[in-house]
Amino acid sequence: MSGTFVGMPAFPKAAQEAVGNPTLRANLRHATHTIRAKRAAAVAEVSDWAALREAGKQIKDHTLRHLDRYLVQLEESVTAAGGTVHWAADADEANRIVTRLVKETGESEVVKVKSMATQEIGLNEALEAEGIRAYETDLAELIVQLGKDRPSHILVPAIHRNRGEIRDIFAAEMSEWGRPAPEGLTDTPAELAEAARLHLREKFLRARVGVSGANFMVAETGTLVVVESEGNGRMCLTLPETLISVVGIEKIVPTWRDLEVFLQTLPRSSTAERMNPYTSTWTGTTDGDGPRTFHLVLLDNGRTDTLADEVGRQALRCIRCSACLNVCPVYERAGGHAYGSVYPGPIGAILSPQLRGTGSEIDASLPYASSLCGACYEVCPVAIDIPEVLVHLRERVVQGGPVTLEGNRTVLKPAKGHAAERAAMRAARWAFARPGALRAGQRLASRTRRLHPRTLPGPGRAWSGSRDLPPVPAEPFRDWWQRTNGGDAGEGRAK
């Protein structure tokens, strides 16, 4: 498995492998169903969940509406607290800034605490190219990194692996990166965790540069917040001399007080915990405590373009809790890799085609990676109407329309490869606008019904490969209605 997502095939093809892999299906099914039930219980405990959800949505919407103002306020607060703010318009710029900052320290190693933003921009690869090694310190990230794999879940990037696989990866790869796995390592969780702990401790104590993300940034105080379960984040945030945080610009909340909402909804939605085990907050630099230098890299990378879209912008409310992945029946079967992004599942299906555009095969197929069942919308703690955005993006793919690209308003042409579908939709619309035409079609189908195969040629094969078609009835309803006016002699007339 390659470590990057570049050149991914369209979702249906990418999903095929996962659908046909029983181990993967079982791992995913077990993991998502367990967490799903726990989340439901953790949410049911809170009597004002609906109000919290609405409050989270309101805070995020308000912030996004005035993002320009809050970003300036954040920059001022961070600077006043002794930090330095950098602005990165895209992935390349962000990578250049971080690489330069690391080089200025003279170091060639950094420790990282889980940051999706740095995965989104491919920071590890960029650092590697400049001779700098980045060590992931989150347990699941470590498994992914050691396995030369890609993350497949927002919260549990190694969700697709079982314990046996993890043992094998540790035994084979740890020595390459530092302290080797102990002899005779078994697949018991305690032993695996201990092996990871020893391996990582060494790194924490040695590293002089830490790279992190953040769950929230508080505009009024310039405070960044990371919530995590393992404590590795706290180590990364406090032990190094230099801390570089790379954060998407949508992660702002206006005030410290606003955190009260998200610190309730996030842990319950993601790990089904009432409160997450470690909440670290850091504000600039403080003498004699924590890093002596602090840099904040504010990442745009498609976010202001997304913000310009009235329907799609709600994706920026996302607090990355991963609840939508865990309830998604498509994610459960297709696995995270099929989404071709660090953001898999329902949120990935709406976020990636907005951040990256719908130009590539995979991005154009993502809005269709859903049956629109609505389970994701129901669980989302900030009420993102994911199905609504999916349909909106489908429209962009098949019909084109106005979009904002790198700050410029342009009109997108329809994507290629939908000509037959478009023609079929037009024809159907034409017939449906004419009841007579519809009826003629129905009659023709009825009259030829004995000739209909139960499997289909062409594009219909996708259907009949695994399902039988219903037989066409002898008489469509409307003919029966007209013949009997809604009832036969036995039943009496309806009118």
Partner: protein, 251 residues
């Protein structure tokens, strides 16, 4: 009370028995049913596949055909949700695109008076016992648009529980999508088929003879999977169960 039956294009063409069952049931309950012959399709398949502009004329046509009736009843949760949830959204989108309020104004009248069948029975007619007789074991699959789109809640199950002779069996993972999703079944057929197979296995584990739902599109997908997997179970629309009586039992 006189209501218009919106049968949906799928029911009309492929499942006329469901339409006949709705007529029989509502007539039995003293409701006067009309079937406006000019009706076609609500435009859901177009809308959900991304062809909103193609869906708009169909929505307008729907409003023209049904606008004058007191109530519009449909035996389909997803087409019901299309009218109730998505028609207002189509109006909003047209407005946002600077096309004024015309579409919104055209569609507005049909939105509040469109009811899914079980909703109409329970909320408007106020009945849960409809005088039905159906001596079979049944498991109920609440389809996504009925469950989450329209919020049908336990209405269908209450109706089924009141049917004489019927034994209702709990469906494990009931609220999980069956994998139909309109064009999703074609575009992502592997995932769709896997979802369908899981749904059918869960249904089979109940030992029921019949899987019942309030939407023939989902039943087409589930039923097609059932015959392919040779389960021996039958998909049946809830209207056909509720229409069945001792004098005239359904199969």
């Amino acid at each position: 009370m006189r209501v218009a039956l919106f049968l949906t294009c799928v029911n009309d063409t492929l499942y006329p028995d469901t339409g006949r069952a709705v007529v029989k049931l509502l007539t039995r309950l003293g409701v006067e049913v009309d079937f406006p012959m000019a009706q076609t399709c609500c435009g859901q398949a177009h809308y959900n596949t991304g062809y909103r502009h193609e869906a708009e004329p169909l929505a307008r046509h729907f409003s023209d055909v049904f606008g004058e009736y007191e109530a519009i009843v449909t035996p389909s949760g997803s087409c019901g949700a299309m009218v109730r949830e998505l028609y207002p959204r189509m109006g909003e989108r047209a407005r946002a695109e600077g096309r004024g309020d015309t579409l919104a104004a055209t569609l507005a009248p049909v939105v509040p008076k469109t009811y899914e069948l079980t909703e109409f029975l329970v909320d408007v007619l106020g009945v849960t016992e409809v005088g039905a007789y159906y001596p079979h074991t049944v498991t109920y699959h609440p389809t996504c648009h009925g469950l989450r789109g329209l919020g049908l809640g336990d209405r269908p199950r209450r109706l089924l529980q009141a049917v004489k002779g019927l034994e209702l069996r709990e469906l494990p993972g009931a609220d999980e999508c069956c994998g139909f999703g309109g064009t999703f079944a074609l575009k992502n057929s592997d995932v769709s088929a896997a979802m369908g197979a899981d749904k059918v296995r869960n249904a089979e584990s109940t030992g029921a003879e019949v899987l019942c739902a309030a939407d023939n599109s989902c039943l087409m997908h589930i039923g097609g999977t059932m015959t392919r997997l040779r389960t021996g179970m039958r998909p049946v629309h809830i209207a056909e169960i509720l229409a069945s009586t001792e004098a005239e039992p359904a199969l």
